[in-house]
């Protein structure tokens, strides 16, 4: 069964917007979705996978290289033909071993043929695509450390069992979790570009609509997909247009000033906040098809770009989203 169409997801606008922004500019650095069970987190992530534009890659390349010369030697490809493939969306399951994440010696080959071959892991598979971690806050610490390291350096280095392999690993981290079940370390939080909080819709009408669509999706799948195909395609086209528009988009010094002031006022750690806010605002402007970056764009994306970067009192119960909104009001007026 194909995944649920992205455009058919009822409500959850902030989450959808955040996902679209990272699809426009992958360098924003991923989305973290926090919310209770049954709010459609996984559905949205899987829907996004089907929505993303296809990419060109070398056939059978383990790291989805765009060009023939980028294919690593250890891949041992006979032919290097370029084909169009779907953007990879790779699930990182809870309890995945280090071997599966980074890749390891191919035990089957080693034991049966005595070959020393590298078996690429999930990080290789996710290159140029999304790495989706459900229940990211329950992920074991050593895997988190490893992900942090790779996400920061953009390179996966495997030094074990007599292997010495490194391959580029740039991917968009998409994480989801339930905040009631444990917190995420601030180091990892900071690594996500955007963060959104979702809740199940509160009014009956919206909830009924959600259930009806789900029912339609399961009852008459073909008809349902057909019904939403055009809308999904429209979003996909808009993403592609926005990607192009992004290059030409102008950023005035005044806006840069606003960005810096906003982050200073919030006291967000490091400069990653400023960079992400700027990138997200630019992507948002491109999505809106505006030619210049304005305060309105900053205002729209500031909560999702900054709420998880505040130096936070671990015992503070109030959401940081409100703090961001208040400061935005004060600084941008």
């Amino acid at each position: 069964m194909p995944p649920f169409p992205f455009s058919a997801i009822v409500g959850q606008d902030e989450m959808k917007q955040a996902m679209i922004l990272t699809a426009i500019d992958a360098s924003i650095g991923g989305v973290l979705v926090f919310g209770d069970r049954g709010t459609g987190k996984s559905t949205a992530v899987r829907a996004l996978a089907a929505l993303l534009p296809k990419i060109k890659a070398i056939k059978d390349c383990p790291v989805n290289s765009a060009k023939a010369k980028e294919v690593p030697d250890w891949a041992n490809l006979a032919t290097k033909k370029s084909v169009t493939v779907a953007t990879p969306v790779v699930d990182l399951p809870l309890g995945a071993t280090e071997d599966r994440v980074t890749g390891a010696l191919d035990i089957e080959k080693a034991l049966t043929k005595g070959d020393k071959a590298f078996q690429p892991g999930l990080l290789a598979k996710a290159k140029r695509g999304n790495l989706y971690i459900d229940e990211v806050n329950l992920l074991e610490d050593h895997i988190v450390d490893l992900l942090l390291d790779v996400a920061q350096s953009g390179e996966n280095v495997v030094e074990r069992e007599g292997l010495s392999i490194r391959h580029p690993a740039r991917f968009v981290l998409v994480g989801s979790g339930n905040p009631e079940e444990g917190e995420l370390r601030p180091q990892l939080l900071d690594r996500f570009g955007l963060s959104v909080e979702v809740a199940s819709p509160k009014d009956i009408e919206t909830r009924v609509e959600v259930i009806k669509r789900r029912d339609g999706f399961e009852n008459d799948n073909a008809a349902f997909m057909l019904r939403w195909q055009a809308e999904d395609a429209a979003i996909r086209d808009r993403i592609l247009t926005a990607r192009k528009a992004l290059i030409k988009l102008k950023t005035s010094d005044k806006t840069l000033n606003d960005v810096a002031e906003l982050c200073l006022a919030l006291g967000s750690d490091g400069l990653r906040g400023e960079l992400t806010l700027l990138k997200a605002a630019r992507a948002y402007a491109a999505w809106r098809d505006d030619s210049a970056l304005t305060r309105a764009h900053l205002r729209a994306v500031a909560p999702m770009a900054l709420r998880h970067r505040l130096r936070r009192d671990p015992l503070d119960e109030a959401g940081s989203g409100t703090r961001v909104a208040r400061t935005v009001e004060e600084v941008l007026g």
Binding site: T39, P93, I107, T112, L138, E161, P314, E317
Partner: protein, 558 residues
């Protein structure tokens, strides 16, 4: 009055539990997309009988156990066969095969396993899962992540063998192919009821719609009707309820939601009035709903899956590899294995006549790692009257500071309070500080000082935590004026004696502990207790929680 009118139904429905269980299985057989069912019952004839029911289902039963390895679940290399034949032989994973999955001892399933199964259920609409939950305590149970994805939950407690009759599983093939429509009014109604019951997740009404449709298919209808809604509510919504819906109007005298009454209804009026549906659910709500809810909340807070046993060989500081069997995700030391196999190559080649590398299972070398397990800080807080008067607030402040440090070190924390006649577990081990703080803030003071009970409760937590691979430390915050003995009687002398006795038990188990004196003056008896415990003794410095937390950190080491 509400009770009185509810009673007769309750009796009626208690004997219906069995019928419901069987119906749920039938619905699952018709629509596996319902995810599955949790059956909460101890092993026994009733459960066996139910088990026999779903043995009649067309699909084979595949048993999963809580310690199942990834290889068994998802498939992997069949090592022995591969080594013997020199050819790659792989095992198919259980999840890849069609079948009804039965998770035995579901309450023991780790977060990791639950997450995997949940993920498998999300993408799979052909197989369903039966979770056999044998939890004895209210807070023991199937992982909420997984429970959320199973439409039904049946508690077989109270069902006796004489009550139920065997139902032959009728041929469901026809029902499975039937297309059933659910009109919008019905969807609306189910959603509304879910809301009134305080069910936040949108999965619940989705399951309700599916269940109603499957039930209609079971009875050969092509439209969802009132009785389908009724059974759907009873089966999918009742056990998820988080609050008892308000009763807007006095309940009608005799509307038992059985088939006779709904058959009398005009076939055209499709939906039952909301009230009636709600009543159907209300009748199914367990008497101890609130207790259960509390337990459920506590279970959610348990959180981090890292509490699992830490004997594994997957990570930590490397140690020399050892001979061993490759089982349960153990990591193989390839170089060591090859080194062990090398001297024998010529002999083996001659013996077997095969060329190429020849490895026998006896050559396998397994990696070993040593690692430190996570630390758990158990706070046993004295909330008695004497303490409340003196310095409960300060003690709370000190605990909060310690919590912040626990957060920084990624320690787990757990909270036990003792006051009145007994101790109470406020929060099972968690890393969620917000929850800990909430519970702490709402902790009232007053009553006697059952010090021994408090220590005992903390000790039970510690033992439990040790079995889960955590390293517990108990921090006791008290003014030391124990006046309630272990049996709940007010007897100062016996209370002190009991406290010392419990301390001896703790020490004999090698539990780490800290005693923090929150009294106005240092209490000599408490120092004595700390000595028995072999614990550090700290009089709470006046109004200086920071200093206290510093000293505790020093004692704990890092």
């Amino acid at each position: 009055m509400e009770r009185a009118s509810r009673e007769p139904w309750k009796k009626f429905l208690a004997s219906e539990t069995w019928t419901h269980a069987v119906r749920a299985l039938q619905l699952l057989a018709i629509d596996p997309g319902l995810g599955g069912i949790t059956i909460r019952a101890r092993s026994g004839p009733v459960r066996d009988k139910l088990f026999a029911q779903f043995s009649q289902l067309p699909q084979p039963i595949r048993k999963l156990h809580p310690a199942i390895s990834d290889e068994a679940l998802f498939g992997g290399l069949d090592l022995t066969a591969t080594l013997q034949t020199g050819q790659l032989v792989s095992n198919p994973g259980l999840l890849e095969q069609a079948g009804t999955f039965v998770l035995t001892m579901a309450e023991r399933a780790t977060t990791n396993l639950a997450a995997r199964l949940a993920c498998a259920l999300d993408g799979n609409h052909d197989n369903f899962l039966v979770a056999l939950d044998e939890g004895a305590e209210p807070d023991e149970g199937l992982d909420p992540r997984l429970a959320e994805r199973l439409a039904f939950s049946i508690d077989l407690a109270g069902v006796s063998l004489s009550q139920e009759s065997t139902h032959a599983m009728i041929d469901l093939a026809e029902a499975r192919d039937r297309v059933v429509l659910c009109n919008s009014a019905a969807v609306h109604q189910l959603t509304d009821i879910a809301c009134q019951l305080g069910i936040d997740s949108i999965r619940a009404p989705m399951f309700a719609v599916r269940a109603a449709k499957a039930n209609a298919a079971l009875f050969g209808r092509s439209n969802v009707e009132a009785e389908d809604l009724e059974i759907a509510c009873a089966l999918t919504l009742a056990h998820r309820a988080t609050r008892i819906p308000e009763q807007s109007s006095p309940e009608p005298e005799s509307p038992p939601p059985n088939k006779e009454s709904s058959e009398e209804k005009d076939e055209q009026t499709l939906a039952l009035p909301d009230e009636l549906l709600l009543d159907a659910v209300r009748a199914l709500l367990p008497d101890n709903l609130l207790d259960k809810l509390n337990a459920r909340k506590a279970r959610q807070g348990r959180g981090n899956g890292t509490g699992a046993a830490r004997k594994g060989n997957r990570r930590g500081r490397p140690q020399p590899s050892r001979e061993g069997r490759l089982s349960d995700g153990a990591r193989i030391d390839i170089v060591g294995t090859l080194r062990a196999a090398t001297p024998w190559q010529t002999i083996r080649r001659n013996a077997s006549g095969r060329t190429g590398l020849q490895i026998r299972p006896s050559d396998l070398r397994i990696k070993r790692f040593e690692e430190k397990s996570d630390r758990l800080l158990i706070f046993a807080v004295d909330a008695s009257g004497s303490s409340a008067i003196s310095r409960l607030a300060e003690a709370k402040g000190a605990v909060e500071l310690l919590l912040t440090q626990a957060y920084a070190r990624r320690d787990h924390v757990s909270l036990v309070a003792f006051r009145g006649t007994e101790a109470e577990l406020l929060l099972p081990p968690t890393r969620s500080l917000v929850q800990t703080k909430k519970r702490l803030a709402s902790l009232p003071g007053g009553g006697g000082t059952p010090l021994a009970s408090g220590m005992m409760a903390a000790f039970e937590q510690a033992v439990h935590a040790t079995s889960r691979g955590l390293t517990p430390t108990i921090a006791i915050l008290t003014d030391g004026r124990a006046n309630i003995a272990l049996d709940g009687k007010a007897d100062r002398k016996k209370a002190a004696k009991d406290a010392l006795q419990v301390a001896t038990i703790l020490r004999s188990h090698g539990m780490d502990a800290i005693v923090i004196d929150t009294g106005n003056r240092p209490e000599p008896a408490l120092r004595n207790l700390a000595q028995t415990l072999d614990a550090a003794y700290l009089p709470l410095p006046r109004a200086d929680a920071q200093r206290l937390s510093d000293s505790v950190t020093t004692i704990l080491g890092d």
